[in-house]
Structures are given as C-alpha cells and as structure tokens.
C-alpha cells in the first residue's frame, strides 16, 4: 500500500469517530448513515492531496465532511419499514450500556435530525466548541452572520427539545 494512502488511513482511523457523529447528525437511517460515512471518507481521500497542513487535519476534515454531508442525498429507494423514529440502532454496543446516556443520545440526535442541513452544520461547530471566528472561516461567511445563524439554529433546537417528550 502506498505510504500516502497508509498515512491517510491512519488519519481517518484517528478521526473516524467524528465522521461517524456527522453521519449520525445528518442521516437518521442506518444504511444512509453508513453511505454518508463512506462518501465522506471517499471525498476526503480525493481531496487529501490538496491538504497542505496550513490548518489542523481535523479542522480541514470537518470542512470537507460537512460540505459533503450538506449536499448528500438520501437513498431514494427508501426502506419503508424503517421509520425515522426508530432509534434502536443507536443503542450502545457495550454489554452494560447506560440507559440514561442512551436516552439522551437518542433525544439529541432525534432533535438534530429535525434541523435543516445548514443549521446542523452550525450546531456541529457549536458542539465541537468552535469560536465564531473559526466558524466564519470554515463556512465562508462573516462573524456577524455566524452569530445570527448560530442563535437561530440554537433557538430552533431549543424549541424542538422543549416540544419533544421522551
């Protein structure tokens, strides 16, 4: 295996958790989520020769991953027997899983799924503790615009969380 590919695979292995989280934010169905995970990996691999190390790999990866997730299309041949309310798949694989933690994760992802693609990106940066300046840099908009959109996305999420009963 070429050293660049091995280097890339090592980087992805280190960051696969965050790619998976982005996939979970954007897709509520397991198959779609796996497809998005694969698509992000492929897009990152395609773009990898352009990574110049001017920013951290993770920051660069977040941008490519979100840019891919935002325009990703669900599988049109939908598996009709799987509903978006089916969150069994989020069960933690550990033998002794924490019910409360699992419920919270389900509630969080269920609420996030109700946001549009752009709001999801803002919420992602909020959850990853990015500053307004960093988000502006990633999204290509002004810091003022980031503040407005971030507040809007957070308010929407708040409303969803308060209206959802779990």
């Amino acid at each position: 295996m070429a050293s660049t590919e091995q280097e890339f695979l090592d980087q992805i292995e280190k960051h696969k958790g965050i790619i998976f989280k982005i996939s979970k934010m954007y897709m509520d169905d397991k198959d779609d989520r796996d497809d998005l995970f694969q698509e992000i990996t492929y897009q990152v691999w395609k773009a990898y020769p352009n990574f110049r190390g001017q920013s951290e790999f993770s920051t660069w990866l977040y941008r490519v991953a979100l840019n891919t997730a935002i325009i990703f299309l669900k599988n049109e041949k939908k598996r009709s027997f799987i509903t978006s309310g089916e969150y069994e798949e989020y069960k933690i694989a550990h033998e002794e899983f924490d019910n409360e933690k699992e419920d919270k994760l389900n509630a969080m992802y269920k609420a996030i799924h109700q946001l549009n693609s752009i709001d999801k990106a803002f919420i992602f940066y909020y959850l990853e503790d990015f500053s307004g300046k960093e988000i502006a840099e990633q999204m290509g908009i002004s810091e003022g615009n980031v503040r407005v959109k971030m507040n809007r996305a957070k308010n929407k999420l708040k409303d969803i969380l308060s209206s959802n009963t779990y």
């Binding site: 694969q38 660069w60 325009i71 919270k104 969080m108 999204m139 959109k149 969380l161």
Partner: protein, 198 residues
C-alpha cells in the same frame, strides 16, 4: 434535556465501534447531486446515441427517393456532430466540478455556478435542435409523394401549424425533462445557498 446539556451528551457519544469499514474506493451508490446529474447525463447521452442509430436504420430501410434519404442523413449527421459537441462540454464541465475543500459557502456557490452554466449549455443544446426539426419537416413536405400536390397555402399552413403545436409542446416537455433529471438537484443547491445567505 436543554441545549446546555447537549455538549455533555455529544461528548459522551463514543459509539465508534459501529463505524463502517474505512476504504478509499468509490462505492457504487450515488448520493451526491453532481453524481446524480452526471449519471442522468450519461443515460441521456446513450439514449441519444440509440435514437440516432434507430434513425439511420429507418432511413436505410425506407423506400424514399435518394435525395430525400441523403438530405435526412446529412441532417442527422449534423445533429450527431452538435450532440457530441455539447456532451463533450457537459462531461468536461463535470470533471472540473465539485471542490469540497473550499469554505462551505464558496463550495456551494461554485457548485451552483457550475450547475447554472450546465443549464445554459443544456438549453442551448435543446434549442439547437429546433432548426434541424424544421428542416426535417420541410424535407418531408417536399419529398414525400402525394396523390394531389400541396398548394403553397397548404404547405405554409402545415408548416406553421406544426411549429405552433410542436414548439410549445417541446418547450413544456423539455422543461419537465430538465426538472426531473437535473433541475431538482440544482434547486437543492440554490436553497442551501439562499439559506446561508439569509
């Protein structure tokens, strides 16, 4: 749960062992608008090739006079030339499209710009067929033998009537076709750009 608790919950999500296998190969499924458009364009290209082959077959087997067959063949050959030119432009455009490394807004704007350029190419491609179709109608009117020859008024009425009926029909059909196979993906990107701009 309130929004302040979300960060804790987010950081607690460590279900990484569920991640699919990592590989650098492109999968067979198509989930990006650009790839969907590219696939539909490829399908359209091969269908057009099929239509041309069929048309040549029909001409070869038709009992019409040499001039009629020759003119129609020349017209179809010119249509093939135009078709190849436009499709080569489409595919060249796709090769340069989509750069997920750019800032999100720039990346979406770039993709939208390329899609709009593609739409203009497509519109030109579609319109370029109008003169060919008109010529074909004229050739058919001129060369198909009739028991009673058509008067000048008849020829003008048939030609103008055909144009009046077929042109709007082609316009509606073309619009439907474009929206079904390409437009919905462009609209998706347009909505994302306006969402970020608002």
């Amino acid at each position: 749960m309130n929004i302040d608790e979300l960060k804790n919950t987010w950081n607690q999500d460590d279900s990484y062992e569920e991640t699919p296998e990592i590989n650098t190969e492109q999968k067979n499924k198509i989930n990006l608008p650009l790839e969907k458009i590219r696939k539909n364009m490829r399908m359209e290209f091969w269908s057009t090739v099929g239509i041309f082959i069929f048309a040549f077959g029909v001409i070869a087997l038709s009992p019409g006079p040499f001039k009629f067959k020759f003119y129609i063949t020349i017209l179809i050959a010119s249509m093939i030339f135009v078709t190849f030119f436009f499709f080569s432009q489409f595919f060249k455009l796709y090769k340069n499209m989509s750069n997920p490394v750019m800032k999100t807004y720039d990346s979406l704007k770039d993709l939208l710009y390329q899609f709009q350029l593609n739409k203009q190419y497509y519109l030109s491609f579609y319109l370029s067929f109008v003169p060919f179709l008109v010529c074909e109608i004229i050739i058919v009117l001129e060369f198909i033998p009739r028991p009673v020859p058509l008067s000048n008024l008849n020829i003008a009425s048939v030609l103008i009537g055909t144009m009046v009926i077929t042109m709007p029909l082609l316009f509606v059909l073309g619009k439907w076709w474009f929206n079904k196979f390409y437009g919905k993906y462009i609209l998706q990107i347009e909505n994302l750009v306006s969402e970020l701009k608002k």
